[in-house]
Subunit: 150 residues, 8 copies
């Protein structure tokens, strides 16, 4: 039984090291996964639009240009992924993470949410369309191990 690698996209929170936990966990277990992510350098992500395409006086258009350049990457990688993991935390609004979850739901692409118990009520619509809710990166790794089993 030959099997190509699974492609996993890690969406959401960028101010903690949860991606490393998942990447290292998958690597330690030798899982057949290719993991891709958005650009997680906060400053680069915020500035890429104006850095590359020119200054904007208006903050809205600065954000607009940056968000669209980032979207070239994120949309493409999400569409090409088999499973998406969406991490929510207690800092920032993270509307982009919920946006990615809605995008996946509409495309019929399975996603796993990753967040603490204290925000389950606020995330109820996002969790309701997910295939699993994990509380730790380790649980995500265990799910990936289980579903990718040769």
């Amino acid at each position: 039984m030959v099997q190509e690698n699974w492609r996993i996209y890690l969406s959401g929170e960028i101010h903690s090291d949860w991606r490393e936990h998942i990447i290292n966990g998958c690597s330690a277990k030798g899982l057949p996964v290719d993991i891709v992510t958005p650009i997680t350098n906060h400053e680069a992500s915020d500035d890429c639009g104006v850095e590359i395409l020119g200054h904007e006086n208006d903050e809205f258009w600065k954000d607009h240009k940056g968000a669209q350049v980032n979207a070239i990457r994120t949309r493409t990688l999400i569409e090409k992924s088999d499973v998406v993991v969406v991490k929510f935390g207690d800092k920032f609004r993270q509307w982009n993470a919920a946006f990615d979850a809605g995008f996946c739901a509409a495309k019929g692409k399975p996603y796993i949410t990753l967040h603490d118990e204290d925000i389950i009520h606020a995330l109820k619509e996002v969790d309701a369309a997910a295939m699993a809710w994990a509380k730790t990166p380790g649980q995500v790794v265990e799910i990936l191990k289980y579903v990718t089993l040769a």
Copy 2:
């Protein structure tokens, strides 16, 4: 030139009266629109799952049942709408609103965001995929007036 009514879905914030402003504004101008909404009674929306389908001890599953019952309505109405308006405010997380926006983006359904200027950075991915950002319900009505012009 005969023209059927446009169907408009109003997503997001439920603790302010922005929907009434839009509904009344469209009505006052005689716009050819049918406006639909999620259930905006906060308590009914939270409790519908357990009210109808039975008690849950665990808050997560209570929310899960409720969110799924609500989703029967929201997904169906969003899919049947021509334009979606998504309102964000400064209270609550409103991840469901961002989820709806992501859902629309994936379906190629045009949506308009409605929010104040102070949250443009947090909403940059959501705004970047929108067809317009309005600051007031009145601007939404003006857009609807313009696009539905016979």
Copy 3:
């Protein structure tokens, strides 16, 4: 807020009167729903193929012809419905009901399962993709009342 009727398809079990309960319940509450069903006359459903298109010596082909004629109706009505209700009981195999549920899941069409508690384990994959699990026709009516609320 004008709203067109919701189309509800009632799939599954045909040897009990659960459809009448739902139809009467919706009617009694004046819900804005149009309810459609497969042909529920068991004998007509089994024989339609050979009755209309000619005798078959082989039971397999008799069933094949009948199942395909019925599928013209069932697929068309399911695709045109907003919500599907799938009823499972303790008699017969009802693989066609599970087939309809899988069809809905693939199309992203919301469905509600209706069955007793004693078969939840056997139905876990079917329930997992449903938007709600109801134990009684009355609960289905309550869900329809809630989601179609003007």
Copy 4:
């Protein structure tokens, strides 16, 4: 004429050794196929949800969590397969197998049913949408040999 391998998914019955017959048959004939399956360890499949994501008091939610984790694997592999084989037997309800068949039918993905003659009437809707009905694993191997011929 270069040709990439065909991907075959084997759905349904897990308490008999039919998958080994097909895998060994394809291997013995050197067919250009990659065969994938759901997790066929019954206990692991039932418990994966609570094992990985935490205990549930309620059997329904235990099943729900498990079925959704399994669905991450099964949906993904079905969508990536070229042909699906669905096996039905005389034990258990196997609603999940019929669910997979309905899923394939909706996606336009060809599937072959595998079952004895005594259940053809109960399976008539499932067989009617199939591309072939095989009675033995050997017949499935012969079909795969025929259709994948270089």
Copy 5:
């Protein structure tokens, strides 16, 4: 149970009166169907391209222009129909009828073939993807009566 009319498209053979048999049969039984057809005036159908858009010296381009103008009608009506009936006869090649059948198969739209027994071998691929094979217009009417039953 309110039910909108079913839309039926009658494709294929234009040199016999089979359409009238079906239209009259449906009318006599009061079936809830709206029946649509291609332009069945052979000469008008052949000449519409050059009649409207200008003379062509080359027969290929005359046919090309005509076939495309007709396709505006046929594709649109087929896509909007619930069921397509495709009639094959012993005269002419009727490749357009087989083309319509292939089009329906790809779209997942149910179609019924209508033809005599002597051409079943030549039509085996077309029949294999059909939901029913009828030998007479009367059988088609009976199928439509059965599937549209309120």
Copy 6:
């Protein structure tokens, strides 16, 4: 044979009166068509973004806002139309008209081009994906008359 009206969208050139010719021609012949158009008031179309949503210093963003507001109308009406007519002239670049044609081609929606003979080379890719090339509004009316014939 009942038949609902055909929806026709008239895209492209706004500085000549070709739309009136088509609308009047269809009306004079009593064709069963509902004709819809983009906003054809050039100034309103250019300014709608900044008029409704606020001033922009940068011409690019002024155009961006306006084009997106207009797109809410144009995309929605194109998607809901059965046939699109795209008019090209010798003035202006009319890239938006070619954009609409490409959009239709990707959606499989039939469109008719309307333009003089002197620009056929420049329009060859656009014409190649069209169902017809008309030189006059009168020819468009004749096509619509032919394809909508009851």
Copy 7:
């Protein structure tokens, strides 16, 4: 500029050696193409259903079983191909070739027809949806050379 091979499917006529001409022509020119075909052994193609799955007394069902087994191959390979070539000749009805063309048209998959000039009128609908009409296998090879040019 790296480029993966193009996949070409050769549909239609099986009683002449046109496929060999195209395969050899592509090979001689070193084109970056992978060519796939239906089973072109006429007898094997006719008998595969009953050979593998058991005897049928009725010719219709013999053909039905065979056509469906073949369809597992043909549909899958057509869907995976970039370009389809459909050959029509003066012998047999070749409704399956026209069926494949209609299937491609509905999927938006480009196809080239290959046939003599004497049947252009009968093939006008099939040609009208094609990207090219070739009269010789050599022309098909030239088209493939042109479009796959690195």
Copy 8:
């Protein structure tokens, strides 16, 4: 983190060397991209139809044949690409470039426009649906570097 190459399609203007700038720029930076293009030999592109498939007296049909042969290549490569770059210049009408942009918009495929500032008004609809507007090939390379970052 393994990552397959990104496929980039370069559409539009063929009378300047902008493609070489992008190809060389990507190569110099070692970006993980495979770049594909339409046939950019103007004469070959104009004549391919009649060169391969035979002379046409009428310029319209000469263009038609050529445009369709080219479309086999361009549609296929656009559909297989992850990102499309569309270049507009001040010479020629370049309706084909706008057509490609509309095609991408309808497919949800991200595209970047490349053009000078003096044509922003004429391109406002095309730019409004783009993910970025670049003024130089170097900016396109920078975007590709950013979005394909491992």
